[in-house]
């Protein structure tokens, strides 16, 4: 990835002495476009407290690395339609549709079954002041990376949005060009907690920080290393990748970075992995 070097110099005039001190840092050329959507306020229906902060922490790493922020809507400004492919208001809505950015983190509620079964659905739940309904079933309503959408990575920090029992029934269709998605698998009694830092740490492992020799990791491994923070026993962190072929899907699951700049895959094949807190 090409990097551009920014040089900052200070000319210090002191007494009769002129000194020049310079430092430099680099940012990536062709930086990523990132969005987040976070909801704390569910109108008293199990409100959360840390979703907006954790989304801000996630964004910070991308911004430090030189990425561009597309949208960072919270609470009522985040709409259900932002996650749906169809409809007059949809995921290409110019002010915040999820398919506008290359990387999108959703932090909020999902829906949990007890237990999850194939066909029960994986969901994203918001509390929007527009773009109703608030509930989106991913498998039937969400398609990312299609029809001009540019989303490559969809990260769902919510409850049960990627149940293992439903990967094959819910998660082929949303990959319309999307590269990878991450989430949790759980049920009503084994759930993710409203974590202060889970997405923040995930962001730091996705991007890394080269000047301190903190390495970026492939998306799947970054989530495996952070997704089990602040979850209850029985919850699994799940990462899925689409591919043109079997080998392509596996390669993306194991080796694709958010900065890899690989072409969009088809959804012929899906390769996923998970790690559970026992």
């Amino acid at each position: 990835m090409q990097r551009i070097t920014i040089v900052n110099c200070a000319v210090i005039l002191f007494g009769g002495l002129t000194s020049l001190f310079c430092s430099s840092f680099s940012v990536r050329a062709n930086s990523l476009v990132v969005s987040t959507g976070a909801v704390n306020n569910y109108n008293g229906n199990n409100d959360l407290t840390n979703r907006i902060n954790t989304a801000a922490g996630f964004r910070s790493w991308f911004l430090i690395d030189g990425s561009t922020l597309f949208s960072a809507w919270t609470d009522g400004n985040l709409w259900g339609s932002d996650f749906r492919d169809q409809g007059s208001l949809n995921d290409l809505e110019p002010s915040g549709g999820s398919d506008r950015a290359q990387v999108y983190l959703f932090a909020g509620h999902g829906l949990c079954e007890n237990p999850p079964t194939p066909g029960a659905g994986d969901f994203v739940l918001v509390n929007g002041n527009f773009g109703k309904p608030d509930l989106t079933r991913v498998g039937t309503s969400s398609v990312w990376g299609n029809d001009g959408g540019r989303l490559q990575f969809m990260f769902l920090d919510a409850s049960c949005p990627m149940d293992l029992a439903e990967i094959t029934t819910e998660w082929f269709s949303p990959f319309g060009g999307l590269h990878m998605a991450t989430g949790h698998s759980g049920d009503q009694n084994h759930d993710s907690l409203d974590s202060l830092n889970r997405s923040d740490v995930f962001g730091s492992y996705l991007i890394g920080y080269a000047p301190a020799q903190i390495s970026a990791m492939p998306v799947g491994d970054a989530w495996m290393a952070s997704g089990l923070m602040d979850v209850q026993s029985g919850v699994c962190a799940v990462a899925a990748a689409a591919g043109d072929t079997r080998d392509d899907a596996i390669n993306r699951r194991e080796n694709e970075f958010v900065t890899s700049n690989w072409p969009n895959p088809s959804n012929n094949w899906l390769a996923w992995k998970w790690i559970c807190l026992n």
Partner: protein
């Protein structure tokens, strides 16, 4: 003209010039907290200590060109495929070997779970992590699977799940007080070398522990958490929270952690409140001393019909 070194007379101030380089016009201001620091004797000593820790304590094997780096509160060392960094303000160590990732199953750790735990104990001991503070140890197993859609029938055909990487996860307590934000997570390569390491085990000030003990007494005496609409109290636990591993701030606070279960069981994610005995939120441990500047919009315009 006053002599050089005296702050009088001919001090003309500081002029900042930006020379060269272009970047995307929408790139936001860079966080001042993560700027590379200037060279000095302390920096050299810190880098030498980092090098010794990487090579002699953790036995990391760097190949090719090895570069030290120091930025803000981090001191690191790395080659193309292997990086190690430690915080200078916290007992925090992070390492990642690119060979730990990948689809090659022959690179998976081959030892028994107990061997992985034994090696993990050795690493923690070498890094100065007190055994007495270990709360739990467990091995986490990654699983992998592949499926495809049959183009004719539309049916999804899945292969059998396979075993993937293993990680040792160690959690922390201090005399029975859980330290919620600390952990050690270690994965080894097929050769038994460190593939991934995050040990985040900052020192906890005595005052924080003392306050947490006070919180415990108050909870035992019948403290009640605030009610929360749409949710019931599931658990109340006194412990300690602190800033995350990668960042420039290290805040540490005692807390009464209350987990709420939703009354509507379908609505997932359990609310977590970290409170003081007055029922007010404890400060949120920061990640950055100076977060990146953002120019966020507060209100989203609804589309015109």
């Amino acid at each position: 003209m006053k002599p050089y070194g005296k702050f009088t007379g001919c001090w003309l101030g500081l002029v900042l010039l930006s020379l060269g380089g272009t970047f995307d016009r929408s790139t936001p201001a860079r966080s001042a907290a993560l700027e590379p620091s200037e060279g000095n004797q302390e920096k050299t000593e810190a880098q030498e200590a980092t090098m010794r820790m990487a090579r002699e304590t953790l036995h990391l094997k760097f190949e090719g060109e090895v570069k030290p780096a120091q930025a803000a509160n981090f001191s690191g060392i790395g080659s193309e495929n292997l990086k190690f960094t430690r915080r200078l303000d916290s007992r925090t160590f992070i390492s990642y070997n690119r060979r730990f990732s990948g689809a090659d199953k022959s690179n998976l750790y081959r030892g028994e779970n107990e061997d992985l735990l034994e090696k993990t104990r050795g690493v923690l001991s070498a890094l100065g992590i007190p055994v007495a503070e270990v709360a739990s140890e467990k091995v986490l197993l990654e699983s992998t699977q592949v499926g495809h859609r049959d183009m004719n029938s539309g049916r999804v055909i899945s292969e059998e799940a396979e075993k993937g990487k293993r990680y040792a996860l160690v959690t922390r307590q201090i005399n029975g007080l859980p330290v919620f934000s600390s952990r050690a997570l270690i994965g080894l390569t097929g050769e038994g070398e460190i593939g991934f390491l995050e040990v985040h085990w900052p020192l906890v000030p005595a005052k924080v522990i003392e306050d947490a003990r006070q919180f415990e007494r108050i909870v035992r005496e019948g403290w009640h958490p605030p009610e929360r609409p749409g949710a019931d109290v599931e658990s109340i636990t006194v412990g300690i929270i602190h800033s995350p591993a990668v960042g420039t701030a290290m805040d540490v606070y005692p807390t009464i952690r209350v987990i709420y279960a939703p009354k509507d069981k379908r609505i997932g994610m359990k609310a977590v409140l970290d409170l003081n005995p007055e029922g007010n939120p404890v400060p949120v441990p920061r990640t950055f001393l100076e977060p990146p500047r953002e120019d966020l919009k507060l209100q989203r315009a609804t589309p015109q019909p």
